[in-house]
Structures are given as structure tokens and as C-alpha cells.
Amino acid sequence: MCLFQSIMNYFPEEVLEHVFDFLTSHRDRNAVSLVCKSWYSVERCSREKVFIGNCYAVNPERLIARFPRVRSLTLKGKPHFADFNLVPHDWGGYVYPWIEAMAKNGINLEELRLKRMVVSDESLELLAKSFPNFKSLVLVSCEGFTTDGLAAIASNCRYLRELDLQENEVDDRKGQWLSCFPDSCTSLVSLNFTCLKGEVNVAALERLVARCRNLKSLRLNHAVPLDVLQKILAQAPQLTDLGTGSFISDPDSETCAKLKNIMKKSKSIRTLSGFLDVNPRCLPAVYPVCTNLTSLNLSYAPGIYSTELTKLICHCEKLERLWILDTIGDKGLGVVASTCKELQELRVFPSDFYGVGNAAVTEEGLVAISAGCPKLNSILYFCQQMTNAALITVAKNCPNFIRFRLCTLDATVPDAVTNLPLDEGFGAIVQSCKGLKRLSISGLLTDQVFLYIGMYAEQLEMLSIAFAGDSDKGMLYVLNGCKKLKKLEIRDCPFGNAALLADVGKYETMRSLWMSSCEVTFGACKTLAEKMPRLNVEVFNEGEQIDGSPDGRHRVEKMYLYRTLVGPRSDAPDFVWTL
């Protein structure tokens, strides 16, 4: 160690810094900063991209103190289950304090990427006015802002390259935010406003596209009609990523014919999405582009039925990523399996939310895909039914899964053929896929599946469990076995205090634990919080008595705990008790 240190000290810091420049992954940089004090120091002063997986694990002041040269910040706020309405409104995750602190401290922020955070118009305005070099804003699953905030960004960020809005709840004030991009703005590379519900000024849009010669990615919302799309595409042959707006027209019209011609000439489009409003008979216009597609997202297009879907997909031989609805059916998945030999990621979303019984996909489709697509490594599959045999086959066919998420529409459905739990099937998956990092399980499951997960899922970082298990043993198998576990989220499982308190130190090695509708009691949560001061143990009390301390034996409906360096947060609403 002494020898090593003296060798390293021989190199001036600039050299170290230069070497560290090659480290782009934040994990690598984190590892590097643990080596010794001087490496920590060099690394922290040179780090430009900071990733904070839980915004309450640190605070803005610590961020700025440690990484004064930060230019790009990624922040995640609410727990994942907030996506499914399990986290009460107003829980938290506000970005304003971060923007405020960075503005005050003269941080040269260029890029901000937020997920599941509350973003107010005020924050957007402050952002737009405080950072002259600001280039890139990516908001995923956020809420709290309106198109006025977007107008502020458009007006003030002179060098804006990227405005990417994915699945946000935006209050559309039907203003002219798009027109706020000044004529001098020519720097846009990526513009995605699919999630906006209102009209945009199409003339302004056309002019904007025409003057941004570097525009590579453009995703429109449903209010942009097909004839405008055609005009835009004519102006932007360099596009690589296109999200259509409304795709409705008379298929025999001139518009469609023009569109088809443009598509024929377009050699660079690799990613295609949109089709929210669609006349399937216009789809052949995009066939010419399909041959080069690597990524296709039709998961917002319930208007395209199985036959048209498969006709389209038949042309997509280079597809690596496919997101579709289960309207494709097992047969359609068979077509995918025989056509898309380069497929790496597949997501099949449900189209029927009331269980009316429209045909969804079954284990057959999944097996077909696993047999036909050898490069498959990531799957999200919502299905009507599943069998152990199918999962075992899938495990054999695809040992390379990194992400495996299976969701049966009926949360506790057993093997459709044998009526047994699906333990063996998932067991086969974790045993075969040695690199598995993310797993979601569903269906009828006992403690056995957790034994398998604990035994075999050595690389597992994130696990989502619902309506599964028989006893505390299930949770214990996972906590004891999965050494790399970072996020564990559990709902409606019979796991209780014994499991929660068995290894309290474990939670400091994880980012967070979510448990709702389980068997943990208030008393156990309190005990845990007392033993582990560097954890925030939050308990949500919706509709319960807030005054007086609740009975320790009282079952806790929702608990969210996470490691933190900064103690209980100050912005927690009334119903959140940090113990």
C-alpha cells in the first residue's frame, strides 16, 4: 500500500484528472474516490456528471460542496410504486431547492434529468434564468408544471439542445410555448413533447424545425396533424428519431402519397413512435422506413390491431427494441420472433384495464420470442396467464436476461396448466440468468420462489414483489441472499416484523425498501429507526389519527425507508411520519 501510494503520488493531479476523464460511469467514479484521499479529492473536483438515485439521500448543499464543477445532474424523487398510485399526493420530491442552491452557488449547470419529481413553473423559470449555458432538460414521469414553465425554458435558454418530456402530467395552458423559441435558436437536437395534450402553433413548429439543422430527435403530440408531419419531414431529412403526431388521413390522399415518398427517401430514421390517433390504412406509408428501424414504440397505439401490427413488423428485421400492446397477440409475437432476430428488448403492455376478457398474450408468445430472439436481454411482459414449463423453456433459451419483468393481469394466477404456484418457473429464470439485475415476479408464488431468488440471483439489484409468499422466510431469503440488492419493493405480502428486523444493517447497503399492505407494525418500524440513525423510516398515515402516538402493535399500511446522509427531511407533509 505504501509503495502504491508513493507511485501514485508521483503523478501530478492533472494526470490523474485526465485519467479519470475516461471514467464516465458514476459507479466507476464512486469506486475511484474510495481508493485514497488524494484520489477522492481529484475525482470530486473533476466530476461533471452526478447521479443521485434518491433526492433525499443527500441535499443540495452537500452536492455542491463535494462536486463544485457539476454540470449535469440526474435526480430521482418518488419511490417507484408512485407510478401505480400507491404513494400519496404531495409526498415530496421537489426540485426547487436544488435549482435554487445551484443558482446561488454559481454552478454552471448544463443538464438536468429528473424522474418522478415535482417540478413547478417557478423552478423552470429559475432554471431558465440562472444558467446561461443550460443545454438539456429531460423530465420523466414528473408533475407540477404547466406549459408556462416550458415557455420560460424556450424563451431563455439560448443554447438549448434538448427538451425531452416523457410521460409527464403537464397542465396544458394552451399558450404559445413553442412560439417562444426565438428565431435565433438553432441549436435544438432533441425535442419531445408527446405528453402534452394541447395544440401547438404548427407554423412556429415548422419554422423551428427548418432552422435547427442539427435536429435529430423529434416527437410530436397528437395535436400535430399528418399533413404537418409530412411538411416537417421534408424539412428535416436528417432526423434519426421520429414520434408521429396524429396519423390520420385518407389513405388515398395526396398527403399520404407525399408522406410515403418522403419516407422512401429517409435513410436515417432509426427510432419510430407515436401513432396515438391512427388510421391503420395509412400505415403502409411508413413501411419504407421500417427496414432500418432499430427501435419501435407502438405501445400508445391501441388503434392498430393485430393484423396491421404484424404487417408492419414484418418489415422490421433490424429491430432491437420493441414496445407494443398485447393486442398483438401470441400469433403476432410469433411473427416478431421470426422477423426480429436482433431483438434485445421487448415490452408488451396491457390494452385492457377492466378485465373485459379481450384476448391478451399468454405464455405461448413469450416462449416464441425466447426461441426466436437469441439476443433478448430485457423484457417486460403483461400476460393473461403463465406456466412453469414456459418459464423454464424461456430460461433455457435466454440465459442473458438483465431485466426480467413478468406481470400476470390476475396477480395471483397459478400455472395455467398444472394449477401449481409459479415458483419453479421463476426459479429457473434466476438460476439460468446469471447476470440478472432487475426482476419483477407475479402470479401465485410461495416462499419457495424467494429461496430460489436468494440462492441464485447474485447480481440482482432491484426486486418487485406483489401478492406473493407465505411467511417472513420469503423476505429473509431475499435479504440474506441477494448481496447486491439496492431496491426492494413489496406490496400485499405476508412479511412482518421478524423479516424487517432480522438484519437492520442490510438497509444501509441498499438505496431503499418499500413495504405496503404487509404485516409490519408501527412498533417494529420505530425500533428499526432507533437502531439505524442513517436511515429515514417513513410511515404514511392516510386517514388515520395523527394526534397521539399510535399503538406499537398497529399495522403500518405503507412504509418507505431509505439510507440518507442528511437525516429526516424538512419538507415531509403531515401524513408522513419519519420515525
Binding site: F84, D277, Y300, L409, S464
Partner: protein, 244 residues
């Protein structure tokens, strides 16, 4: 008591449906007579109901697995329909785990398409076709879109032309083309037979294609005498044979 079972999903209602359903059985029936149904050997639907009932009686009511096997059984029952399917899935918060944003968007689009289709069905493109009957002094017009099955159409036509008599159809109101001799009997009789002109201008016997397809392709209807419809049969047979 099986009929006392009350689950918090729709299955309680389903049992009630069974209990109140008219059955050919001994008066004063109840659960015990279910056993007799099997012995009586009624049509399949009743046998399957028997299976369901006996399974309910043998399994522990609180057993989660009961719920699983019952929901499986339901799929076997030909009479199981959507209205008695338990909406348990929809009632579980956050299941299936899909982002609300995505859910809302997809459902909104579907609602729109459903609304558009309903509109088409009601006002916009109603499928009025002329109906002529050989020997009748006047023609009539019917809107095919207001009927859901062939039987409904026949009933309506029957009312329209009161001396109109139909050829013998099977229980679903569709002429059974697969049985050649039956068809010949039909055509040789003096009964009237409904025929239609399709998009290609061919005259076809009504009943060989699924109802929706018929509505799409029917341009006009003609009720012919059975003997006159003979010429159509071979074509209809051909089309049927090529389809099966």
C-alpha cells in the same frame, strides 16, 4: 351451504344467478339436486355447472387456491359471460402496475374509437338495404346495423312480410350448409329463402358468413322461393368448402 357463500368479488352474484336460473329439475330443488343433474345427463352446460358446484362444496371456502380453480372453471363454462366476471382486477389499486399516464392515454384513445364506432352504428353510416320478396307487391328497406344476429334479421323480415315463411334453420338461425341433403330439402320445398347480393355483385344465400362480415358485404336482400334459390347452392357450397 354453497349458495350462502359470499365472496367480496362477483362470484357471490354468480351463484345467485345459478340459483335463480330456471332449471328442469325436481321442485324444491337446492344444492342437493345438483348431484341429480349429473345423473339426469342434461346438455353439457349443466354438467359443467355440476363440476363447479361440487368443487365449491369440497374445497375450503377461505382457501386462496379455491379462487384460482374457480376462476379457471369459469373459463370452461360456455355460459360464463363478462357481466358476471368478478371485477376484482379492476378494483385492486395499482394492478396491473402500469403508469397512470399510460393507462389514461390508452383508455382515452379506446374510448374515442368506441364512441366513433358507436356513432357510425347509430347515425352515420347505417346499412340500409332494399329487401324484395318474390310475389310481394312492394319492397322494404332494413337497416342491417340494428341487428346483431341472423335470427334477429329473420324475425324482423318475418314481421315485415307476414306471409313470409322461412326455410328451416338450426338453433342459431343459420342455414346449415355443411349438410348437403338438408340443403337440398330446403331448396326443393316451397319455403322462401333469403338471399343477398354482395359487394362483388354475386347473389348468395344468407347465413354462410359471420354476421359482421355479412353486414359489411350485403348490398341488397331478396327473398326467393326455395326452388329458385337452387342455382345459388353450388356456389354457396363452394365458398363454404373453400373456407373450411
Amino acid at each position: 351451504m354453497v349458495d350462502m357463500v359470499s365472496y367480496d368479488d362477483g362470484r357471490c352474484r354468480k351463484l345467485g344467478f345459478e340459483e335463480t336460473e330456471l332449471r328442469l329439475g325436481l321442485p324444491g330443488g337446492g344444492e342437493k339436486t345438483n348431484a341429480n343433474y349429473g345423473k339426469r345427463g342434461f346438455e353439457e352446460t349443466v354438467d359443467l355447472k355440476l363440476n363447479l358446484s361440487s368443487k365449491e362444496m369440497t374445497l375450503d371456502q377461505n382457501d386462496l387456491k379455491l379462487e384460482q380453480s374457480l376462476s379457471k372453471e369459469k373459463k370452461l363454462l360456455p355460459c360464463s359471460n363478462d357481466s358476471v366476471k368478478p371485477p376484482a382486477k379492476a378494483q385492486v389499486v395499482g394492478w396491473p402496475p402500469v403508469r397512470s399516464f399510460r393507462k389514461n392515454v390508452v383508455m382515452a384513445v379506446q374510448k374515442k374509437t368506441d364512441a366513433e364506432e358507436a356513432e357510425k352504428g347509430n347515425g352515420g353510416a347505417a346499412a340500409f338495404v332494399k329487401v324484395s320478396m318474390d310475389g310481394a307487391p312492394y319492397l322494404r328497406k332494413v337497416d342491417l346495423k340494428i341487428y346483431k344476429t341472423y335470427q334477429e334479421l329473420y324475425d324482423a323480415l318475418g314481421k315485415m312480410f307476414s306471409s313470409f315463411t322461412m326455410g328451416k334453420c338450426d338453433s342459431q338461425g343459420v342455414v346449415d350448409f355443411m349438410n348437403e341433403s338438408k340443403l337440398m330439402d330446403l331448396l326443393n320445398g316451397s319455403d322462401y329463402v333469403p338471399t343477398y347480393e354482395d359487394k362483388d355483385g354475386d347473389w348468395m344465400l344468407v347465413g354462410d358468413v359471420p354476421w359482421e362480415m355479412f353486414v359489411e358485404s350485403c348490398k341488397r336482400l331478396r327473398i326467393m322461393k326455395g326452388t329458385e334459390a337452387k342455382g345459388l347452392a353450388p356456389k354457396a357450397m363452394e365458398k363454404c368448402k373453400s373456407r373450411s
